[in-house]
């Protein structure tokens, strides 16, 4: 499955994985589920669920102030 992964504030990646979960997609772009939220249509999706969208948005959890 081909998925466009838009890491906001950084880079957009194209990944091609067989039946990926959202966690698989994150690993493919070298991100940990601990450090980001994966959004589809503006809502977070569980990382262990199979990817159902060809486009996902990834937002870093950042704490600096």
């Amino acid at each position: 499955m081909q998925v466009t992964v838009d890491v906001k504030g950084e880079t957009t990646h194209e990944v091609d994985l067989p039946k990926p979960t959202y966690a698989d997609v994150l690993r493919a772009v070298d991100l940990s589920p601990h450090e980001v939220s994966v959004l589809v249509d503006g809502r977070p999706v569980p990382e262990d669920q199979p990817v159902e969208s060809s486009e996902v948005t990834v937002l870093r959890l950042i704490k600096g102030g």
Partner: protein
């Protein structure tokens, strides 16, 4: 352009606001009547406090339990070299009153937690969160949602910043980030560094949201998160939708009191 609610000195000080059709004397009077709690007097809190003070926000609360370190001064512009070692609430309060004597400053030298946040939030019209840790971010979110207090969120990381605004009835921080990362998995500014001017831009956006809220004017960031990349000098927006399953603001919230959440670890709602 004259208005009896503004003194001649205030009409002079705020003249560039007063002559704007979108602000005018009424908008300026709204700012003078407003109260804002600024959580954190660090990188983001510094520009927030400076611009809220300059804008004439009538009462400003400053919350911080930290003291000024020399390594802060590369970005935390309300503190000076002579303030190293002093409580940040003191040097920040002096900056605010020095800039604008119209502003009443409340100093809160403490770290917000479930025991202290509720009364504090209820005492202000709006909260601006420029804190530097996840427990504070989640406790501020949950307290504001439960109390119905709007808040502006901002965060920074190396060259990247995020900002969004919560308004009662809209999506909250937990709608985007349901829980915090495990402690130690996300680096802080001390570990990765941060471009010194970055909080100036992001904090300026946060202050803009606060000022717009009170005037009122414009469109808030209440259903979107603004992402700023200083390296590429680009901005992006992420639509943010209310999560019906959100434990704090969803259709059937399970968090009705801060006692329902442990604000340590991932701040998760079990």
């Amino acid at each position: 352009m004259t208005d009896l609610s503004l003194s001649p000195t205030q009409l002079d000080r705020y003249s560039r606001h007063v002559i704007m059709d979108e602000v005018g004397p009424d908008g300026q009077a709204n700012l003078l009547d407003a109260s804002v709690c600024c959580v954190g007097a660090g990188g983001l809190g510094s520009p927030v406090l400076a611009y809220l003070a300059a804008a004439g926000v009538g009462r400003v609360g400053i919350v911080d339990d930290d003291t000024v370190e020399r390594s802060n001064l590369q970005r935390q512009v309300v503190h000076g070299d002579a303030d190293v070692g002093r409580p940040k609430v003191d040097s920040a309060a002096e900056f605010v009153t020095g800039l604008n004597p119209d502003v009443t400053v409340d100093r809160h030298e403490l770290r917000l937690d479930a025991d202290t946040v509720t009364d504090l939030v209820a005492d202000y019209d709006l909260v601006v969160d420029g804190s530097d840790n996840f427990p504070t971010r989640y406790v501020v979110n949950d307290a504001c949602v439960i109390d119905g207090t709007p808040f502006v969120h901002g965060a920074i990381y190396r060259f990247e910043g995020q900002a969004t605004t919560y308004l009662p009835g809209g999506p909250c921080y937990r709608c985007v980030f349901p829980e915090a990362p495990e402690p130690g998995t996300v680096p802080d500014c001390a570990t990765t560094g941060v471009l010194g001017v970055l909080p100036g831009v992001v904090g300026g956006i946060m202050a803009t949201e606060a000022v717009k809220h009170f005037v009122p004017v414009g469109d808030p960031l209440d259903d979107r998160m603004l992402v700023y990349d200083a390296a590429d000098m680009t901005t992006d927006e992420v639509p943010v939708a209310k999560n019906p399953d959100c434990p704090v603001c969803g259709d059937q919230p399970t968090v009705r009191s801060l006692d329902d959440v442990s604000y340590s670890g991932t701040c998760a709602v079990e």
